[in-house]
Amino acid sequence: MPAVAIEFDDIGLTFAAASRAPTVALDAVTCRFESGKVTALIGPSGCGKSTLLQIARGFLDPTQGRLRFVEGAGGNTFRPAMSTVWQAFNLFPWLTVIENVAFGLDLAGVPRAEREERARRAIAAVDLTGFEDRYPRQLSGGMRQRVGIARALVMEPEVLLLDEPFGALDAQTRLVLQEQLARLVETSGTTAILVTHSIEEAILLADTILVMTARPGRVAARIDVDLPRPRSIATTRDPGFSALFDRIYELLRDEVMRAMVVGGGDN
């Protein structure tokens, strides 16, 4: 599958409000999400990380700047196929696991036999074989999010958007799913954008980490993660991991303090 890079060129988003001063959510963000790589966005609450994801997805239009999709050597291309994994899972409660996973294929008119087969493969990839006919309410949080990941990956997206995918899960479940997701993203070769609050998660999953400033959001630093793959919980004991962690923490601490003074926070 040809992966696609996304370039943000001077992207800004200002919400006009009738009664008060307009809110600048994003201010001149210029960055690049490399094709076939995982790029993590990390920053204080309210810095516009999720907003940036919505702009990439095309659900929000920036008020300034340009969004470009670049294929291969550098030719511009159309909006690539994208799928999102959501913090709140957003599974359809009236559909079974397999119906949830096959939902997008069904919408696209993929014939029943083919979509069931693809859905079963995606379910197997997240180790949920045997749970095809369960309803979301019968699953634990971790299992629900694995359904969410399968539902996104079954669409074979060129760009995978991960919006704080493990934010609603407990620490142990997070660790297991982080390893699993790292493997899945690697094998799929898709371009991935990961929004997260967790430095550890960013380092474990990403090739590049973009640290954002408090509102208005800008990219403060771009850090490449050159730790070997596959990464796992053992990676966190690597000296390189600690060095990266400290560096990102330093950058974040100042921004989080600033965000706390300025106030706000969008979620």
Binding site: T84, N90, L107
Partner: protein, 270 residues
């Protein structure tokens, strides 16, 4: 588990069987009805009150059977059911579609809000004279009255259900490539279904009331007409017989809705 405990209790001490029966919802519900009928029968027999005022349940049962076997009550029941459910079915389809439309367009909502505010609190029986002027007293009139009874609760509950849909589900569907029509049909409608069924429950009740009331005013056949006629000629047993048919109809409709509600569990996430 609970039945296991009850069984154990039964073997341990006498009277446990009675206790087990009293712990059963179904036994309590039906048993109390039987008990009331027995007391009624006894009181009517002992006091010697005239059957003109209070016929005995056994007399009513005999009348009921004869009305069904030779008195054409089956036809009356059939006509009334047809009037209720034909109008109700139209209201269900139209009300759900209208509700979806209102909930997804703020302009339609602005317009519809005014009409609903004006018409919903209006007792629908007050529309009977006007409808008779417009439609006469035949089939179209009965259909309209049943339709009017059901449509408001269905529309209002559909709008409520759709507007309470988790916005995250709509986003997820858009993300998976859903068109606005697909979002409406595959996300908004199913997520509104528990609420729509609450509207059906209310609406069907109003339809039953209105059709029987309209039959009492203008009907020549139907349970309401039969009831009114029996009252006019002081056939108290027949009055009670029709009331029992109406009560049975109520029980069947309510229990059927309970069963449907129970099967809707999958629509709720937690």
């Amino acid at each position: 588990m609970r039945t296991g405990e009850a069984a154990k209790e039964m073997t341990v001490k006498p009277g446990g069987a009675v206790r087990a029966l009293l712990d059963n919802r179904r036994v309590l519900g039906w048993g109390s009805i039987v008990l009331v009928l027995l007391v009624w029968e006894l009181v009517a027999r002992i006091s010697g009150v005239s059957a003109l005022y209070l016929p005995r349940p056994s007399q009513i049962l005999v009348t009921l059977i004869s009305m069904f076997s030779g008195g054409g009550l089956a036809l009356d029941l059939g006509v009334t059911l047809w009037r209720i459910f034909a109008g109700f079915a139209i209201a269900l389809v139209a009300g759900t579609l209208l509700g979806l439309w209102i909930a997804t367009s703020w302009r339609i909502q602005a317009v519809a809000d005014m009409f609903i505010a004006a018409l919903y609190p209006l007792p629908k029986v007050t529309l009977i004279p006007l409808l008779i002027i417009w439609l006469g007293t035949g089939g179209p009139f009965m259909l309209s009255i049943s339709f009017l009874g059901a449509i408001f609760p269905i529309v209002i509950n559909t709008v409520l259900g759709v507007s309470q849909c988790d916005p995250g589900l709509v986003l997820a569907a858009r993300d998976l490539g859903a068109t606005p029509q697909q979002i409406m049909r595959r996300v908004l409608l199913p997520s509104a279904i528990p609420s729509i069924f609450a509207g059906i429950r209310l609406g069907l009740g109003v339809s039953i009331i209105l059709v029987v009331a309209a039959e009492m005013v203008v009907g020549k056949v139907g349970l309401g007409a039969r009831l009114y006629l029996a009252g006019q000629i002081l056939e108290t047993e027949q009055v009670f017989a029709v009331l029992i048919v109406l009560a049975a109809l109520g029980i069947i409709v309510t229990k059927a809705q309970d069963a449907i509600d129970a099967s809707l569990g999958n629509w709720r996430i937690d």
